[in-house]
Subunit: 190 residues, 2 copies
């Protein structure tokens, strides 16, 4: 019961932080959204920052969990990269408000919680780099810098939180496949 | 004289908005940074939002101006795309604080100025799509959706505002060339 109220509050925070931004959202806004007195909110959460912390941490954990699964598979680096791009793009666009908060608002966290998100993000990036390095070593991928390649591929998918709209011309999975293809094969006819 | 003071104030705003975020920066912070009384700031600017408006508008205009030059050139679509990626990546990373404000803080603008930035950004995106469409029509590029391809390539470069650090392992121009290459030829050995 308390738990379901907490989830309602967290969901309100996701919607409001996404729409108005973290700084511009007040505890009063959140209370109004869920139909509680502002004072009653503190029964469920200690601060607005706690909400931001939980939302961002839940979001990045989801990405990490999925990628860890892919990394462990007994498949080629090329297949891992394809699955990683598909997973990442789809996850970014499946829940735009939550991704927006992770990508746009994390920097508003104070030092300690921000450090935790940064650590999880670094771990995630390392897993990506590992896949790419594996492919470079096996000769599947052209040689280069795995970390920069990972950051560039991630950037191309992350940006979709700014432009992808549900109900548009294409489903997100279709776009994810197109993006995967562009990365794997390049844009030029060879 | 007045003009140079304005530039000092704008530069202070760029540094502070980048570091603390637009919302968390006060007019008092800006006054302190340039060593003026808060009241004297209003001699040069009417509001904090005016600063955000001018910074974002100057930033996007620079990107548009450079891309218009490339689009007009009498070269192949492939060469245009190469030059566009090089230009865009280099410009994003040449002035990280200003790009950060354009990419992270524009959404804090109120409706009218936000609309102007969105229009300029749309125009910029259209120019990118035009290059890619040209290459798809001429058979230089694989067929696909020019707008999604443009957004994906832009995203891969834009993201660098989050990770590129001056004085790191590579110069930004080196990374720009690597990113261009990854896009043009793909990551896989074929």
């Amino acid at each position: 019961m308390e738990n379901s109220k907490y989830h309602e509050i967290a969901e309100a925070a996701v919607q409001l932080f996404n729409k108005k931004g973290y700084h511009a959202t007040s505890m009063q806004d959140i209370a109004d959204y869920v139909g509680l007195q502002k004072g009653s909110l503190y029964h469920y959460i200690s601060s607005k920052e706690e909400l931001l912390e939980r939302i961002t941490s839940e979001s990045i954990s989801g990405f990490v969990r999925e990628l860890e699964r892919i990394v462990k598979k007994d498949i080629s680096a090329k297949e891992k990269l394809e699955q990683a791009i598909l997973m990442h793009f789809t996850r970014v666009t499946d829940n735009i408000p939550m991704t927006t908060i992770l990508l746009r608002e994390s920097f508003s966290l104070s030092d300690d919680p921000h450090e935790l998100i940064k650590k999880a993000t670094d771990h995630y990036l390392n897993l990506w780099s590992q896949i790419i390095e594996e492919g470079m070593k096996s000769g599947e991928f052209k040689s280069g810098d795995p970390r920069i390649a990972a950051l560039t591929i991630l950037g191309s998918c992350n940006w979709a939180y700014r432009w992808y709209q549900e109900g548009g011309k294409y489903e997100n999975v279709e776009i994810a496949k197109y993006v995967t293809n562009m990365w794997i094969q390049g844009i030029i006819f060879v």
